[in-house]
């Protein structure tokens, strides 16, 4: 499906924000993703949707190889071919009135869309964002503009609390949790967050992104599950991370 780049600009030295116009009717929940065709590369690139409105969607992404680096060179007016509305996304009905949204690095973007939805439902989310250092910080302005409390941790202590997101967990009040970031971060959260409802968004190398190739299957309590189809968001108790 054709989409047109409206804006593609850096948010810091490594992360970019791309707004696109096109049909967004396939999106049902925050945390869903798109498969981006990058000319010259065989497989599409799965990128989570940061937020969307009718006819517009935003991808916040970090180039990690030649494919996503090529994406960074796209200019306003350029067309991109996307498969929209993939994956299950965050089921906000499983979260409480005071959800904590935990993002690690480039896992943060889909939590912005989730935060907007929770606010629209008159819930009171707070945000915990972990980065390596101050230079890696991005997207916090967007969260602060929504008026939600934001706690920041950096591994080197150059901004916010020093350490990992789990170091900040004891000071925060929450009745449920939604997280997206590196697997070690999410495993540590799962081990420290206690009994509250938890949602985790996984990342995996994908072939198709829509459930056909079985390339991204993980074992869950309910049996084999495709990260692209049954996921990328799983309930804490589904994950076999003990």
């Amino acid at each position: 499906m054709k989409y047109t780049v409206i804006e593609n600009r850096p948010l810091n030295a490594t992360v970019l924000s791309m707004w696109l116009s096109g049909d967004t009717s396939a999106f049902r929940r925050p945390g869903q993703f798109v498969q981006v065709y990058v000319p010259g590369f065989y497989l599409r690139r799965p990128i989570s949707v940061c937020e969307w409105t009718e006819g517009r969607l935003r991808l916040v992404y970090k180039p990690v190889g030649p494919g996503t680096e090529k994406l960074a060179a796209f200019k306003p007016g350029d067309d991109l071919d996307l498969l929209p509305g993939l994956g299950n996304g965050f089921d906000a009905s499983l979260l409480g009135c005071h959800p904590l949204l935990v993002g690690g690095g480039v896992g943060l973007p889909p939590l912005l869309g989730l935060c907007r939805q929770l606010l629209a439902e008159r819930r009171l989310p707070s945000v915990l964002a972990g980065f390596a250092g101050e230079d890696d910080v991005f997207l916090l302005d967007d969260f602060e503009a929504l008026g939600v409390p934001v706690t920041v941790t950096t591994q080197d202590g150059s901004r916010g609390l020093q350490g990992l997101v789990t170091n900040a967990l004891p000071r925060l009040d929450f009745d449920s949790l939604a997280a997206c970031g590196p697997i070690p971060m999410m495993k540590a959260l799962r081990n420290t967050a206690g009994q509250v409802p938890q949602l985790y968004s996984l990342e995996e190398r994908m072939g198709c992104g829509f459930g056909a190739c079985m390339g991204c299957t993980v074992q869950t309590a309910g049996g084999p599950a495709r990260v692209c189809k049954e996921g990328p968001v799983f309930r804490g108790e589904e994950l076999m991370w003990s």
Partner: protein, 301 residues
């Protein structure tokens, strides 16, 4: 009017396009994109006697003009396929179904074949003796003529439907394997499965795939597939289904001119869920340009 129908032995397909096993699940994932009834046939996900989780991830690696996979025959097992997947597929697809069967022993191939041959709408048993992603089975049967013949013979004995052996390209002489299958009673052949390949993650200094190696598919393997189909169809008289990197109507016509009677579309489905309808749409115009009125009139070059 162009005639897209083709014949596989006594079976007539409305067109030669068949999604390849392992790239199409049991069809359900493609329903958001198109009506499956426009397909010639469907070869469903390789099925074993017991449910299999398959290999650890990463299972996928990108390549120039293609991809590696090391899925490792993840499937819910033949009984679940018959109880759940096949009835669901029949509700959305009314053409011929090709049952793709894998195994780790001759007994396992036979067990699956006995069950699937009785299934309504299953018109062909496609016996995968060429999966590169599992140990002690799969490709081990497809790289030795006498082992390939033994599987063929055992399945042929219990099958009431045509038996097509799916061959591996990871051999020195594919013609000798093809001949052995034909001599052992195969009604047809499917080729090629994926080419064994590898990628290395330079930063991590280790293979990209958790299984280290995997099967290469996509446009990069098309010339190899075409060559092997051409060699095999020159040596056997049973029908051959050609596959390996087919992505365009031109590729389809080339494959038919290499001697294939029908084609399977694999990796192309994964990067473009509309690959099959797109190829089907452009076939008549390409045929007209070449003065081809009917696909079944194409003869091997």
């Amino acid at each position: 009017m162009t005639d897209l129908s083709v014949r596989l032995g006594s079976l007539t397909l409305r067109n030669p396009l068949i999604p390849a096993s392992g790239t199409f699940g049991f069809g359900q994932e493609f329903l958001p994109w198109y009506d499956l009834d426009l397909l010639g046939a469907i070869s469903f996900k390789g099925t074993t006697a017991e449910a299999r989780f398959g290999n650890p991830t990463p299972r996928i690696a990108e390549c120039p003009a293609g991809m590696l996979n090391s899925v490792g025959l993840q499937n819910p097992g033949v009984d679940h396929v018959i109880a759940e997947e096949l009835p669901a597929l029949r509700r959305v697809f009314h053409g011929p179904i090709i049952a793709n069967i894998s195994g780790f022993s001759i007994e396992e191939y036979v067990r699956c074949a006995e069950k699937l041959t009785r299934e309504e709408q299953v018109e062909i048993l496609e016996i995968n003796i060429s999966c590169p992603n599992v140990r002690h089975g799969g490709m081990a049967f497809g790289t030795d003529p006498s082992a390939a013949a033994a599987v063929t013979r055992a399945v042929r004995e219990v099958a009431t439907k045509p038996v097509y052996m799916k061959l591996s390209p990871n051999v020195t002489d594919i013609v000798s394997i093809a001949r052995a299958c034909e001599d052992a009673g195969a009604d047809g052949l499917s080729l090629i499965n994926t080419l064994l390949g590898m990628r290395i993650d330079l930063k991590r200094r280790r293979p990209v795939l958790a299984n280290s190696v995997g099967g290469y598919s996509g446009p990069g393997i098309f010339p190899v597939a075409l060559r092997m189909v051409w060699q095999v169809t020159g040596a056997v008289s049973v029908p051959v289904i050609g596959m390996g990197g087919i992505s365009t109507a031109w590729d389809v016509l080339e494959m038919l001119m290499a001697g294939a009677k029908a084609v399977q579309i694999g990796a192309a489905n994964l990067v473009d869920p509309m690959a099959c309808p797109h190829i089907l749409e452009s076939l008549p115009a390409e045929m007209e340009k070449l003065g081809i009125r009917s696909l079944s009139e194409i003869t091997r070059v």
